[in-house]
């Protein structure tokens, strides 16, 4: 299995733990290591005889490649290989949904930073020099930068029409085949919005800038060639098997020759769903016969992963005089950049969730995802729903103002509830407590007004001492957001789990093996909690995630607790059945509903029948199974279908102080409520909710990759700002637990919903304080000035 000479630095690997089952919050196995700086991330991987890999990238967002000259680089002592697209052994392109992205540029470069050539050398400095020695001749072309113009293909085509290959023909069903610069267009229509006469109509144009996932661990990994002509790759990713399928196709190798092991992941948030170093590192390893380490530096990382789709949106809401929503019309354009990545799925989410958590009789959402020469955009926490959420919540506030109604009351009046019919025709069949979530927030007393003389740290600007209270006004804002959980629209969304039960040192021990990526959210801990609860054992070992078992699906779409959690639960149930069979065979007692507790198999009366230690002896029970959630359906061309398996909801109230003269904002208070179905690990749930909230605050106030002429102006943490501890007050979380009868343990995916409502709540509070409309996020200080 593993590589030739040495095993790379130990990553999280196998984790043994004992302690509590579901509903408790046991210590994370990686927690102390991370706090102490001892956790081994993928960038810490090391082997004695390894080489370093590097990537030559295009400085131009759009150009024709005339020539790539690698001769000088190859001559540099210490250089072992320089590869171009001609060296790609298998399929020359890859992609998550549409296979459109060249492994190495062929003929054209379509975005700034597109990889053109690879280098392997004995030292990072040699790599750097060799990359400089590669000469590339370009014919520079005008970039196609404007997403709206791109729809019509007016400025030209980013991709010449070509037959596209789909990785999974079933998954692409219902996706319109790319045409012109449109990756996907989706209409979702319910009722007949054009026929409705409304007493009050509000409309607006909204924009969301390009956010970055800003994970701290850069793209990195180690590829180790094996004697069998295959390769082992240790890498930080979100979905080992999606990587595997793309890598094997591009390397032209069968699946058994490429083995992936998850290395320590330093954050993901969607940015690791696409391939980065995976194919490149393997190509270099296979060519040189040496282990290859690749690590992007921070600046390269900004060019090395996809970002959140910038959006331009037009909305119109109509209501009767009492504030009942009659119709919503929306038109959403998402800029997918140069390659498709997850654009089609992002379009699906924005189109189906574009009306928000409201029960609206008539709606029509038209959504486009387009190619441009801007940086490729793909998965990021809450995708599609984040962009739409900013717009529909702004509209709800605008509508409340036009009606002279309280914005919370307006939301409650139109709140989605169990039994509501979604714009897709899907009937909501589990709790969606929009009203309760809002009422919890409203019931909390508001923070007291600031004192006349305050410590500067409590004021906008903080220790930067820009005000002693002059110009400072307060505002309060509310918002609710809605997200789908899991992969939607008919995708075969499953996870595979193997659970083993055996007796070691007279102690029953369970071990769990999946390919699910722990990216910091706490899945390793949760898998052990589930095994403990289901098998009634103390000791659980979680094997490191790798491709020696079937796919677990992606760690994204708030889905792993649901889907991999469901798979582990089901595999445990299968193990219990085997234990009961053993009991029947050995003891002659039949147990119809096998339960296990504190190391014993219980009989149907709930009494201890036999200890696992005595029953199993030397026997080992192992069960592996694939687990699927309810089937969803592809959308038809009117956007109708049972598209989403579950909805997840959160609400926020934000209180801000704004310095009107400088446009600086201080968050005074942030509180949030979320229905989590069932908190399997309450501390991890709160962590997700707070983290998601902060990411939404970042989008509201500062996080933007600034693009000019399709080029990134701020590819560093010097100028791509994310909130610090001093920018975020303590976040109070109200957890509601209304079980979803269809989900394991009744749980509801939690990771993304908070990111959707926190952004509009912050902006609503700023609007309330300043009276400025604010139709674009992030809100910049200059946007707030009246004069």
């Amino acid at each position: 299995m593993a590589g030739r000479t040495a095993t790379p630095t130990k990553t999280l690997g196998e984790v043994s733990s004992s302690g509590a089952g579901i509903g408790s919050s046991p210590l994370r196995p990686d927690g102390i290591l991370k706090v102490k700086g001892q956790f081994a991330y993928s960038s810490d991987l090391w082997m004695a005889d390894m080489l370093w890999g590097g990537t030559k990238r295009s400085p131009h967002p759009h150009a024709r490649l005339i020539s790539v000259d690698t001769v000088a680089a190859l001559k540099l002592p210490g250089v072992y290989a320089v590869l171009t697209h001609e060296d790609v052994p298998g399929r020359k392109r890859y992609g998550l949904e549409i296979i459109d992205q060249p492994v190495l540029a062929m003929e054209y470069v379509r975005y700034q930073g597109e990889p053109i050539a690879l280098v392997a050398a004995d030292h990072p400095e040699t790599v750097r020099r060799a990359l400089e020695l590669i000469t590339v001749e370009y014919e520079i072309l005008d970039p196609i930068s404007d997403s709206r113009e791109a729809i019509e293909g007016r400025p030209g085509l980013v991709h010449q029409p070509q037959p596209t290959e789909h990785p999974d023909p079933e998954a692409s069903e219902g996706h319109t085949v790319p045409r012109g610069n449109v990756v996907r267009y989706q209409k979702v229509i319910k009722g007949d919005p054009s026929a409705v006469k409304a007493a009050v109509v509000v409309s607006g144009s909204y924009e969301v800038g390009m956010q970055d996932q800003a994970f701290l661990g850069p793209e990195s990994g180690l590829a180790v060639p094996d004697d069998d002509g295959g390769v082992d790759l240790y890498v930080a990713t979100q979905w080992l098997h999606a990587d595997l399928w793309q890598v094997t196709a591009c390397l032209g190798l069968p699946e058994e020759k490429v083995r992936f092991t998850l290395a320590g992941v330093g954050g993901a948030f969607g940015g690791r769903e696409d391939v980065s170093i995976q194919i490149h590192a393997c190509m270099l390893a296979l060519r040189t016969g040496r282990p290859i380490k690749m690590v992007y530096n921070r600046e390269e990382s900004f060019f090395g992963h996809v970002h959140r789709h910038p959006a331009r949106m037009e909305y119109e809401h109509g209501a009767d005089a009492d504030g009942n929503l009659l119709y919503v019309k929306a038109n959403i354009v998402l800029d997918g950049g140069a390659y498709a990545s997850s654009t089609a799925a992002v379009v699906g989410n924005a189109a189906t969730l574009g009306v928000g958590p409201y029960d609206v009789p008539n709606s029509e959402v038209d959504c486009w995802g387009v190619y441009t020469n801007n940086p490729p955009c793909g998965a990021m926490r809450g995708f599609g729903a984040v962009q739409a959420g900013f717009a529909y919540e702004a509209q709800m506030d605008k509508l409340a103002a036009a009606l002279g109604m309280d914005p919370v009351q307006l939301r409650i009046r139109n709140a989605l509830h169990e039994g509501s019919v979604m714009p897709t025709g899907q009937v909501v069949d589990s709790p969606v407590p929009v009203e309760k979530l809002l009422r919890v927030l409203v019931a909390e007393p508001l923070p007291p007004p600031g004192a006349a003389v305050r410590d500067v740290r409590e004021l906008p600007g903080g220790v930067s001492s820009t005000t002693h209270g002059e110009g400072v006004v307060r505002g309060v804002g509310y918002a609710v957001g809605l997200k789908n959980v899991g992969f939607s629209e008919g995708f075969d969304d499953y996870s595979t789990a193997r659970v083993r039960l055996e007796v070691i040192n007279r102690t029953p021990v369970a071990s769990v093996h999946t390919a699910a990526a722990e990216v910091g959210q706490g899945l390793v801990t949760l898998q052990a909690q589930i095994a403990r609860t289901e098998l009634g054992v103390e000791q659980v070992t979680i094997r490191s995630a790798d491709t020696q078992i079937g796919s677990a699906g992606s760690t994204s779409a708030s889905r792993q607790s649901y889907v991999t959690g469901g798979a582990v639960q089901a595999a445990c149930a299968a193990v219990r059945t085997r234990v009961a069979e053993l009991a029947l065979m050995r003891l002659g007692t039949e147990v119809k509903v096998p339960r296990m507790l504190d190391g014993y198999l219980l009989d149907d009366a709930g009494e201890r029948l036999v200890s696992i230690v005595d029953l199993l002896g030397e026997d080992v029970i192992e069960e592996t199974l694939e687990w699927r959630h309810r089937k969803t359906q592809a959308l038809d061309d009117r956007g109708q279908g049972f598209a989403h398996v579950q909805y997840s909801l959160a609400a926020h109230r934000v209180v801000v102080d704004v310095d009107l003269d400088l446009g600086l904002v201080k968050l005074v208070e942030v509180i949030t409520s979320q229905d989590v179905g069932h908190a399997l690990n309450p501390q991890a749930v709160v962590g997700q909710i707070q983290g998601g909230t902060v990411q939404g605050i970042g989008l509201a106030l500062m996080e933007e990759i600034q693009i000019s002429q399709s080029k990134i102006r701020n590819p560093s943490f010097t100028d791509y700002l994310i909130p610090t501890l001093l920018d975020v007050p303590p976040i109070k979380v109200f957890m509601l637990e209304e079980p979803d009868p269809y989900a394991p343990y009744g749980l509801r995916g939690v990771g993304e919903a908070p990111t959707i409502s926190s952004t509009p709540a912050v902006v609503a509070a700023i609007r309330a304080a300043t009276g400025v409309m604010l139709t674009r996020v992030p809100v910049r200080p200059q946007d707030l000035l009246h004069d």
Binding site: R128, N297, E299, D455, V456, R457, G461, G462, V463, S464, S465, T466, T467, H468, E470, G471, D661, L662, G663, L664, K666, L701, M702, Q706, R713, N714, T718, D719, L721, P723, T724, L725, L726, D727, R780, P781, Q782, L785, D787
Partner: protein
Amino acid sequence: MDFLQPTSWAEALEMKAADPEAIPIAGGTDVMVEINFDHRRPRSLMDLTRIEEVRGWEREGSRIVIGSGLTYRRVIDEIAGTLPALVMASRTVGSPQIRNRGTIGGNLGAASPAGDTHPALLAGDAVVEIESVRGLRQVGIDDFYLGVKRNCLAPDELIRSIVLDSDAGPAYFAKVGTRNAMVIAVCSFSLGLHPRTGRVRTGIGSAAPTPRRAHAAEEFLFEELTDLWHSRADLDRSLVQEFGRLAAAGASPIDDVRGTAGYRTHSLAVLARRTLGWAWADYQRGANSDRAEDVN
């Protein structure tokens, strides 16, 4: 790469004379970033952190002499209440980690237009003591900054210390940034009252190729305050307004990723008005300027 490690100031001066291309490194919070980004590949580095003589500060009457290797952490802990504007500026630098390592001498060595101590040093009428084996010279802060990230040091010279008057008068520093920590100034402004000379001095940061004073604004106040220094009467709104306008006009800002020229001009006027108001109110009360003495 050579790594020089002098243990005394005299040894450092000799090493610098022998190898003028050696890059001094104090906290390294600028130097290491430049090396990391490959903006600079020094042939030799000269570590200044072992030289005790320049790592502290001392008081000589009302003169405060700050060693070039004094960290922000120590400025905040030890000089708070004495040099309010410099302390306020120091509090806004980076994060606790950066303040533990970064030095005032390093800020001057880097001479970035966005460096946070510069406006405070300009407003405080600092003197920079610069030394080489050829001798020590004292350079007024007005003559220190020559261009974008360029200062007046000769290749064999090192910054020894920075001298400020602790009795000058009330002083403030204020910085606009888009978050509350770890932020490069969009623009910054410092103001110091010097009642003994009848002058008000200013410093503008991040809104011109170098840190600079707003001369016209200072001259305007020199005229307008002549009688007020004695009476300590309230300042007219219109006077404060005009000062803000002139202070902002003293900048030559650009549009960049951090902000627009228009926003910079606008906020400089606001900061100038506010800092003048605060400093004058302190002067009227005879009070100290610092409002957050025990902030980290």
